[in-house]
């Protein structure tokens, strides 16, 4: 229980630091007011409102008063006159209550945007990890069992091949065959029911999952080969157990450490890093939203995406740490 409490405190700490850095960067490196109202930040609006100055930027004479009122409105709405730390605390306070603010661009609540985007990204992440694990574990076991024989050599070549294909190239190859030529999968995201969602995400999850499976296979194969040298494997053989049983019941579990660590890191990164893939397969997920929001300087949405991604990172790595203690009882004591 103390372990969980400590993890939770750690997670909160990481969230505070990362959100503060992101918030400061978004507010200090660019002007949020500019992001809301555009070039009107250049106008001395106080003077315009007071009728003492003319609009110098606007093309339509007389229109500046309305625009300048907008600027004043935005200043007040986003508390832009407050010092940065105060704004940060206010923002995070609202976020804790589920209020991520609203988009600068289409004035939709950010939480509504996230609610729509997040499930798709989560589903894609889950499918990609599933593909990677379902492919890599049997593959690694087969390769380690026949280490350095012909099958293992061929599989090494295949894994390096998969690793060296860039993601977008694999995506295009898969799309060409499965979407264009054989029309097995839809070309755009279909959101009718779970089945259509799974179907729409299949190619994207293969694109993300297959190269990962090559990485995991390499890692697990090496660890399996190392574990196979252990004395307790000889003991298991002396007990007259079959090779299959020794592999799956004795060798696999203590060999999973290295792979699990990397799976944890990669899975969180999948979330943030599927930007290109979501773009290629037109999947309306978090990655795509983040990309679009960065391009459009939509601060609240960008920040919300950062929070989501960081949370995913920390949560997944906590899960990995918990998994360690399941995999090896020797970790449990000092956990």
């Amino acid at each position: 229980m103390t372990f969980l409490a400590r993890r939770l405190a750690f997670m909160l700490g990481v969230l505070l630091v990362t959100t503060f850095v992101a918030y400061t960067a978004m507010n200090a490196l660019g002007d949020p007011l500019f992001n809301v109202v555009g070039f009107y930040t250049q106008v001395d609006c106080d003077a315009v409102i007071a009728g003492e100055a003319e609009d110098v930027v606007g093309t339509r004479p007389g229109s500046s008063l309305g625009e300048c009122e907008l600027v004043a409105e935005a200043r007040e709405k986003y508390h832009l006159d407050d010092p940065l730390p105060v704004r940060y605390v206010r923002w995070i306070g609202a976020m804790v209550q589920g209020d991520f603010g609203e988009s600068f661009k289409n004035y939709m609540p950010v939480s509504t945007i996230l609610a729509e985007r997040l499930p798709k990204s989560l589903l894609l992440m889950g499918m990609s990890v599933t593909v990677a694990l379902v492919v890599s574990i049997p593959w690694a076991v087969a390769a380690a069992y026949r280490a350095n024989r012909r099958l293992d050599r061929a599989s090494t070549a295949l894994s390096f091949g998969l690793l060296s294909i860039p993601g977008f190239a694999l995506a295009i190859i898969l799309m060409y065959f499965f979407v264009v030529r054989w029309e097995v999968f839809p070309s755009r995201f279909e959101d009718d029911d779970l089945f259509s969602r799974l179907r729409s995400l299949t190619l994207a999850s293969l694109t993300l999952g297959l190269p990962l499976s090559a990485v995991y296979q390499r890692l697990l194969r090496t660890d399996l080969i190392t574990t196979l040298q252990e004395d307790f494997v000889v003991t298991a053989k002396a007990k007259g157990l079959s090779d299959r049983r020794i592999m799956f019941r004795h060798v696999l579990r203590p060999s999973l450490f290295g792979m699990v660590t990397v799976v944890g890191l990669n899975t969180a990164a999948l979330f943030a890093g599927s930007i290109i893939i979501e773009q290629i397969f037109s999947i309306p997920g978090i990655g795509r939203e983040l990309y679009v929001s960065i391009v459009r300087d939509d601060n609240p949405v960008v920040l919300a995406c950062v929070v989501i991604i960081v949370t995913a990172f920390v949560l997944i790595n906590t899960a990995v740490d918990l998994l360690y203690s399941y995999l090896d009882p020797r970790v449990r004591r000092d956990a």
Binding site: E230, D231, F232, V234, T235, A236, K237, A238, K239, G240, L241, S242, R245, R249, H250, R253, P254, L327, D328, P329, R330
Partner: protein, 364 residues
């Protein structure tokens, strides 16, 4: 079926390496009767563990095994080739040297013992666990019920070795091979484990192969002793005969390396000079000749065969200790100051205090 429980005939095990073929075991034969214990004694690299592993079908596939081994009339190597499922771990089992590494660190002790029962005897999970508890009790582990759900790292070395023994006993084997079962343990625990093995063997009428580098271990525990060196059998005799009429210079030298309680204190130990040979080339003479204080010119050119020295007593030596020939050979070497193989006899005069043998690097 009449005849011995285990009959090993002219067993040879070779490994191909880049330097040439290593003959780890080179023509070993012995019989083991039901319920009897044979001790196989020798230094590291003498081929004793390889012999055991060959019998247990634990050698890597690139090992070249020749010769025959029959267990109760059944051809052991044919069973290995046919992937016999319920022989190893059931009728013939093995206890290993290092209990710290021979248990799976991520499985509960109970599961590991119960596994053989479930796989070979098709027992249910609960039944197998109950039986595992009984086995733990038999090997002298207190609170067996509690231990079942513990992991190996929660037990001491001695306890772990008891668990390994319980695992080996699970399916009531007829032959137990114990490969240096106490080498990795504290001296205080060693005797307990050896006595336990002995008691269990007697109680179960089980045969045992006890492998050790320590002649003192087999004394009083084995019915018969086989001394191995460089893959060859040097001497084989009923235990009492061996200690009373030791014939092979190597056996004699081995015994002098062991501290004994019945000799006056401060008696110094005699190390055997040199190291065992790399058994890559076919040896022309006796493999021990270069380290032997009895060696005569014949030893360098002719490999001695096993000859009889009384009932059941075999020895492979041209100048056996305790015989007239041997005495003359040794006296001759002492007079010359060097052996036929060119070994300085001074080396044997340099007796080492026990404390020096325990220093790092002092052990051979």
């Amino acid at each position: 079926m009449a005849g011995p429980l285990l009959r090993v005939q002219d067993l040879r095990v070779g490994f191909r390496t880049e330097q040439g073929k290593v003959r780890a075991v080179d023509g070993v034969s012995f019989d083991l009767e039901e319920g009897q214990t044979i001790g196989i004694v020798g230094e590291s690299g003498s081929g004793k563990s390889v012999t055991a592993k060959a019998l247990m079908n634990l050698l890597p596939s690139y090992a070249q095994i020749q010769g025959a081994a029959h267990f109760d009339g059944r051809d052991v190597f044919a069973m290995a080739a046919n992937r016999e499922k319920h022989f190893w771990g059931v009728e013939m089992t093995m206890v290993f040297q290092d209990p710290m590494t021979s248990l799976n660190p991520v499985k509960k002790v109970g599961e590991q013992i119960a596994e053989s029962l479930r796989v070979h005897l098709k027992k249910g999970r609960r039944e197998a666990l109950v039986e595992a508890g009984d086995l733990l009790e038999q090997v002298g582990i207190p609170e067996p019920g509690k231990r079942l759900s513990q992991y190996p790292h929660e037990l001491s070395g001695g306890m772990r070795q008891r668990v390994v023994i319980a695992m080996a006993l699970a399916c009531s084997p007829r032959l137990l091979i114990a490969d240096e079962p106490t080498t990795a343990l504290d001296v205080t625990v060693q005797k307990h484990i050896l006595d336990l093995l002995d008691d269990l063997r007697r109680a179960r009428g089980m045969a045992m192969i006890l492998i050790t580098h320590d002649l003192g271990v087999v004394r009083g525990r084995a019915d018969e002793v086989m001394v191995m060196y460089a893959g060859h059998t040097m001497e084989e005799a009923p235990t009492d005969t061996l200690f009373a009429e030791m014939r092979h210079p190597y056996t004699e030298a081995l015994l002098e390396t062991i501290p004994r309680i019945d000799t006056p204190s401060h008696t110094r130990l005699v190390p055997i000079p040199g190291r065992p040979p790399e058994v890559i080339d076919v040896l022309e003479g006796c493999p021990f000749a270069p380290r032997c204080r009895y060696s005569v010119t014949e030893c360098l050119t002719d490999r001695p065969g096993l000859t009889s020295h009384g009932a059941g007593h075999l020895c492979a030596c041209h100048a056996p200790a305790g015989t007239q020939v041997g005495k003359e050979a040794r006296a001759g070497n002492e007079a010359a100051g060097t052996t036929a193989a060119g070994l300085d006899m001074e080396q044997f005069a340099r007796r080492v205090p026990i404390a020096d043998l325990n220093r790092p690097g002092g052990e051979g």
